[in-house]
């Protein structure tokens, strides 16, 4: 009896908070779009200055195939960069976790990478690897990913609890056993936090790298070429594609992170 009476207000509350977290942002978004449409229409602002949401929506539906192709092209570059950068970052962090001297040696390099605008490398990389190849974009994405993954993983590797360390010593576990039984699983949630941050960076870097050259077809190239031909509504349509692509990467990374941290509430 007490269980049912207790759950009713809880469920009502849960429904209320779900209503607030889902519906409220949607209401705000729709209101903003309406305001945008109203201002542009009402003041008679020219389409080449600011296109209306309906103009952009028409371009999206008319060019859906091209936007999807562009998203796939940019998305593949971002994904390759994310995977390669994550592997380098994780392996580097494991090495730094085992040998502190490595951490000391690479610390300045990591700091340099962290402050450098990675896309600035793009023109150089196009010259190195050829302007008809996607390689330069993938490298830019990978380099952007390394730093957050490395830093977060290394932090995670140092979170092993003293009681677990004692336990491994009690079991006379080898360094390798300790790494696989305790150190790496402890670090896992931190790795996924790093990957979540890096996932958006990978998309942004791969897309911006397209601004500096390379083959056509990606979202970045399409945005610049539409804007160059004064087709602003179409440029906005590709920007919309970039937003969706970024969200897909972020949500996928978030889902993986939530899956791997689902039992971590107990200290």
């Amino acid at each position: 009896m007490s269980a049912t009476t207790a759950t009713i207000p809880e469920r009502a509350l849960a429904r209320g908070s779900a209503y607030r977290t889902v519906v409220a942002p949607i209401v705000l978004g729709v209101a903003m779009l309406g305001l945008w449409q109203g201002v542009v229409d009402g003041f008679g602002i020219e389409q080449y200055i600011v296109p209306t949401p309906t103009d952009i929506w028409h371009e999206i539906t008319d060019n859906l195939g091209s936007i999807v192709d562009g998203s796939v092209s940019t998305g593949v570059n971002a994904l390759i960069g994310l995977v390669v950068g994550a592997l380098v970052g994780i392996l580097g962090a494991i090495i730094a976790g085992v040998w502190r001297i490595f951490d000391t040696i690479v610390a300045p390099l990591v700091a340099a990478l962290a402050v450098m605008p990675i896309v600035a490398l793009a023109p150089v990389l196009y010259t190195m690897y050829g302007a008809d190849k996607e390689t330069a974009r993938q490298i830019v994405a990978a380099v952007a990913v390394i730093v957050p993954v490395y830093i977060n993983t290394l932090r995670g590797l140092r979170q092993v609890r003293p009681v677990h360390r004692d336990l491994m010593r009690v079991y006379a576990a080898s360094a390798r056993q300790q790494q696989f039984a305790v150190t790496l699983p402890t670090a896992a949630p931190y790795v996924f936090t790093g990957l979540r941050v890096a996932s958006s960076l990978a998309v942004i870097s791969a897309l911006i790298a397209e601004y500096f050259g390379g083959p056509i077809g990606g979202l970045g190239k399409s945005i610049t070429s539409s804007a160059a031909s004064s087709n602003y509504a179409l440029a906005w349509a590709y920007v919309f594609g970039a937003i969706v692509l970024g969200l897909v990467f972020y949500c996928a990374a978030l889902a993986v992170e939530m899956f791997f941290t689902r039992h971590r509430s107990t200290p």
Partner: protein, 268 residues
Amino acid sequence: MSSAVEVRAVSRTFGGRKGASVTALESVDLSVAPGEFVSLIGPSGCGKSTLLRLIADLDTPTSGELSVFGKPARQARVDQDYGIAFQQAGLLPWKTVTGNIELPLALHGVGRSERKARVSELLELIGLTDFAGHYPDQLSGGMQQRVAIARALAESPKLLLMDEPFGALDEMTRERMQNELVRICAETQAAVVFVTHSIPEAVFLSDRVVVMSPRPGRITDVIDVSLGGPAERDDSLREDEAFFRGVAKVREALHGVPVAGARGVDTR
């Protein structure tokens, strides 16, 4: 047969900066017979946990000798002669109850089928058979501690080291866990070294209570309590005259003076 634990004139000094060293233990002697239940009790800083960590070879004495089943402590640890449970259950949160209990077995290369059989035995022993597939965050504190005890027992050690394993539990859970520990000890025949700061807990569980005092950590008294076999150690014992006498004796030893009115039992 050699004793389970033999401690001879063991001292442990922790070095501080420029001579500011702390003597955690000073010339401690202790002998634990096979199958015997010995509690270490004393105020914070008396070195009871340090002594347990020395026996477990999680730390090394500054001077003195220490042997477990006639071997040096290091060898006993490598040979897995003891099981250990800490105040924190220290379960791996990413492993199920089964995965946690079989952890030492898996690390030491015990085969899958043998592990499975042993885990189901242990789950029955701690009464958590229905929770085999649960994760630690789905268990109460008492259940987690039972899993930690099962893990300590996984390799059927003849010595169990316990560092305030019930310290973080509420009073009701604590008494139930004590009853269970009495039963488990009777079934496994293991010797136990049990660190606690609860007088009734020490008296209820132990054959002998070792009273320690701080600065420097040393043994001031050893009290025989032996309130009978496991069959007699149930909740009614907690209201028995012999139990109260034991509590009074340990308390007097701790405070260094006879306490008037032995009935004023500290329930902690």
